[in-house]
């Protein structure tokens, strides 16, 4: 069995590389809490390339509008159809912002309609147990972005599993620090990332 490689999706429009430290932080958490054989560094894959099909999970974020090219859209459709898991996080944390509007539109066009995930969804029990649903982020609580604490994540459901996970909670900012600094946190805020990865690999 090959090791899990955390892949960040690179798309033509927008700032796809806005959260460069998130992959390392998630990889660190996967190594800390699970026995998953994980690669020590993440990779960047162009959403328009066939390389995305080598990865079971893709992480996509940014602040700016997301406009998929034809090849990117076709690849996302195929990726989801083949059982891939796409995690899209609004780094702009802005419910009415350009990233949210454009990313949700592109997801709808390429993968299907987004629905609210109930807070007792299997995603929140995939590894750690989050009884109240998705953990809130400091960016929600301190009033940045849209001044909202989002109760739910959204997802595109395919064959009973989440194929696309969409978050307005700005986990990209929340997890965007060097993993060595994790020791300064009373509670590790990247645990939900473990759930996301484990869910993607096991469902």
């Amino acid at each position: 069995m090959r090791e899990f490689v955390f892949a960040t999706a690179q798309y033509e429009s927008g700032d796809w590389d806005s959260a460069p430290l998130v992959p390392a932080n998630v990889i660190d958490s996967i190594a800390r809490y699970t026995s998953i054989d994980v690669a020590p560094t993440g990779v960047i894959v162009a959403l328009s390339s066939r390389d995305i099909f080598r990865h079971p999970m893709l992480y996509l974020t940014g602040h700016l509008p997301v406009r998929f090219t034809t090849a990117e859209r076709a690849n996302v459709t195929e990726f989801v159809r083949r059982g891939g898991f796409l995690f899209v996080d609004d780094h702009n944390h802005d419910i009415d912002g350009a990233f949210h509007k454009t990313a949700t539109e592109e997801i709808h066009r390429s993968a299907g309609p987004l629905v609210e995930l109930p807070n007792d969804h299997a995603l929140y029990r995939a590894f750690f147990h989050f009884a109240d649903g998705p953990p809130t982020t400091s960016h929600e609580l301190n009033g940045w972005g849209d001044n909202l604490v989002h109760k739910h994540l959204q997802g595109v459901i395919r064959d009973g599993r989440v194929a696309v996970l969409y978050s307005n909670k700005d986990y990209s900012s929340e997890w965007g620090y060097h993993p060595d600094n994790k020791r300064f946190l009373a509670i590790d805020n990247t645990k939900f990332a473990v759930n996301v990865v484990v869910y993607a690999l096991t469902r």
Binding site: M1, R2, E3, F4, S13, P20, L21, P23, A24, I27, D28, A31, R32, Y33, I36, D37, V38, P40, T41, F53, R54, H55, P56, H63, L64, P65, R67, T69, T70, R81, R82, G83, G84, N92, G97, A98, K101, T102, H108, R109, P113, R125, A126, F127, F128, H129, F130, D159, S173, H178, P179, K182, I187, D188, K191, V198, L201, T202, R203
Partner: protein
């Protein structure tokens, strides 16, 4: 009235009778043909194509019968023939009538006229003969009409005006009460209103292809009691109308099986849902993204849109992103909205006035063309082109914005000059045997002066880099002194001039100071040029050439060094997985148990295909149903595979050989041979 006039009148009546009788016979033949076809259709289900030619054939037959009767009565056009016809029916005339028509003598003629005058055949013979002429055709018409009237309702309509969906109009003959009411059925497909398409009817469909959201109206013969239909988890109950049952449903969003049930009978129909594709929009101009130095000007936008069912409107959408880092603001809007009223194609042209967008340095404008079809659903029917991005450069980025032509780099200028000097020196060396010593020395010194000027230029470059000031070697004495220094001595002097000690600025490779690392090639060139100029000044161009070559090579190395980017990508964080595993933190959130992951597969299950193939031997209908279900599954992911399965199903239904179609379907569905390189990546089968 003379005898001739009376015969002419009789002839006219006879001709009218012949024509009328021919027409009645023709009508009888036509009606009888339709009635016979209806009767035949009642006994044997005639195909719609054959029923379609019944009426034209009936008309042809009627015309033929009319013509035949007219041909038979053609002799009535002749007066003698008419006279003979009268003589035949009135023997007492004893050919007086025929003779009177042939007689030219006036006296004899008056005698014959008087003889004919005594006989009034118009009131005796003619009515009886005419009435007898019409009785047979009228009886034939009556019989044919009676047959049509007696035929069951709908039979004549199937023959007279055959149409798709009239299968249920054909009444069964001696249909047992326990027979399935699911055959025959007719389907009327009503596309969504926004498409503007007309409704269509189908007989006995195995597959119904229709747009998602179309209304499907199924109709069959018999009562509606106990007839149900199932699509997915939704159940539909038939309603009755007269002697027929009816079902109405909406085409689902995905290909699905429609299962009809009547007591112990069932019937499977494939609902091949065709989604209304969004309009296709392409942006033709501008062809690529661009960066503007200043937020002014006009950008022409041109694009094309098309939709199979018609476009409703098009517009240009823009989003302006302002800000950087974690702080962004957005503005969006719509320009050039146009209505197309259902046109299949449209060309979109507009111009974006950059000034009107009030852009600032660093702002990014995302432009795309959007088209909407006439689908009223809120989240459907919109297509968009690729996005073109126009960015306004920040002041700090001007060096990366190729707006104005830049002069050639300094090192390039030096290298070209050094090459020219080498060429001049080489030419002088070739001419040396033919030149006097004075001429040689004069020309050699001229080249040497140019070499010295070039050396000073290189020196300026070196010192301007080190001190930020040009013209650091002005003094002739200092120049002389530097010319005799080695590269290291010159470097030390340069470092002293910049008040930096070697190795204290940056930690460079191989222990060199940055001054040495960056300037060593130019310093070598500087020294080689000095040696070359010295040799040229004493009239020894041959000895100068090696130094000149060395100078050129050093300049080349300096040019290469200029292309090294000192800035690079930030170092990627490499997680020490083992260290992380040994220091994993545990707090209040306990891990939950993990469940094994299902092994997803995109391939068609081979065993299901094989099972369906086996069923063909014993239960053909079951095999058809299995293949239809398999076809529904592959409709959206393998259209060619679905088509191949359709061929197999059609071959089974029509009793043809299925082996070739079956092999083709298996080859398509199994895909090309694949090699397995071992275990799959994490939890996924690709």
């Amino acid at each position: 009235m003379t005898a001739r006039q009376r015969v002419r009148r009789t002839r006219a009546l006879l001709l009218a009778t012949i024509v009328l009788r021919a027409l009645v016979w023709g009508a009888a033949a036509g009606v009888a043909a339709i009635a016979a076809a209806g009767l035949l259709d009642l006994l044997v289900d005639l195909p719609r194509a054959l029923r379609g030619v019944v009426v034209p054939l009936a008309i042809v037959l009627a015309i033929a019968v009319v013509l035949a009767h007219l041909w038979r009565g053609r002799r009535a056009r002749s007066l003698p023939a008419t006279a003979l016809w009268i003589e035949e029916r009135v023997p007492s005339l004893r050919y007086a009538l025929v003779t009177s028509l042939e007689q030219d003598d006036a006296r004899a003629s008056s005698l014959l006229e008087r003889e004919v005058e005594r006989h009034r055949w118009e009131s005796t013979v003619l009515p009886r003969a005419l009435s007898r002429a019409f009785i047979p055709p009228l009886i034939a018409v009556g019989l044919a009409t009676a047959m049509i009237v007696l035929l069951p309702r709908g039979v004549v309509a199937r023959v007279r005006a055959p149409r798709a969906g009239d299968a249920v109009d054909r009444p069964p003959i001696a249909r047992p009460p326990a027979a399935s009411r699911l055959t025959p059925i007719a389907v009327r497909v009503v596309p969504p209103a926004y498409t503007g398409l007309s409704a269509a009817r189908f007989d006995e469909p195995h597959t119904i292809e229709a747009l998602v959201g179309s209304r499907l109206e199924l109709e069959g013969r018999g009562t509606s009691e106990g007839i149900v239909a199932t699509v997915g988890d939704t159940r539909f109950t038939a309603t009755g109308r007269g002697s027929r049952w009816q079902l109405a449903l909406t085409m689902p969003a995905m290909p699905s099986p429609l299962i009809l049930r009547d007591r112990e009978f069932d019937r499977l129909i494939v609902l091949d849902a065709r989604p209304d594709s969004s309009p296709v929009v392409a942006i033709v101009a501008p062809t690529r993204d661009t960066i503007l130095r200043t937020p002014t000007g006009r950008i022409p936008i041109r694009g094309e849109a098309r939709d199979a069912l018609g476009l409703a409107s098009t517009w240009l959408e823009y989003i302006v992103s302002s800000g950087q880092g974690e702080s962004f603001r957005f503005r969006s809007g719509v320009l050039a909205r146009r209505s197309h009223n259902g046109a299949r194609q449209a060309t979109l042209e507009t111009t974006v006035v950059i000034d009107s967008l009030r852009l600032a340095p660093g702002d990014v404008v995302h432009l795309r063309l959007v088209a909407r079809d006439r689908n009223p659903a809120r989240d459907a029917g919109t297509g968009a082109s690729e996005t073109r991005v126009v960015r306004i450069a920040r002041v700090g980025e001007y060096d990366s914005v190729a707006v104005e032509g830049a002069p050639p780099p300094e090192a390039d200028t030096s290298a070209i000059s050094q090459r020219m000097l080498i060429l001049l020196t080489e030419a002088l060396v070739r001419r040396e045997p033919r030149l006097s010593r004075d001429t040689l020395v004069r020309e050699s010194r001229a080249i040497g002066d140019d070499q010295s000027r070039l050396r000073r230029r290189v020196g300026e470059i070196i010192f301007s880099r080190l001190t930020g000031e040009e013209g650091a070697e002005h003094s002739h004495e200092e120049e002389e002194r530097r010319g005799q220094m080695t590269a290291e001595e010159l470097l030390r002097a340069a470092e002293e001039a910049t008040e930096h000690g070697a190795g204290e600025v940056l930690d460079f490779a191989e222990g060199e100071s940055p001054v040495v690392a960056i300037n060593r090639p130019l310093l070598e060139a500087y020294n080689a040029m000095w040696s070359a100029a010295t040799e040229l000044n004493v009239g020894a161009p041959r000895r100068a050439l090696p130094h000149m070559y060395a100078a050129l090579a050093a300049i080349e190395r300096a040019r290469q060094a200029e292309r090294v980017y000192l800035r690079g990508r930030p170092a990627a964080v490499v997680v020490d997985v083992n260290r992380a595993r040994l220091s994993g933190k545990r707090d209040s959130l306990p891990p939950t148990s993990r469940s094994p992951r299902a092994y997803p597969s995109s391939a068609i299950p081979a065993h299901r295909f094989a099972r369906a193939a086996e069923l063909m031997i014993d239960d053909r209908q079951a095999a058809i149903d299995s293949l239809m279900l398999l076809r529904i599954e592959v409709l959206d992911r393998s259209p060619s595979g679905a088509a191949a399965l359709g061929d197999v199903i059609a071959a089974l239904r029509e009793g043809r050989t299925v082996a070739p179609a079956l092999a083709r379907a298996r080859n398509i569905l199994a895909g090309p041979p694949r090699s397995d390189n071992g275990l799959q990546p994490w939890g996924v089968a690709w």
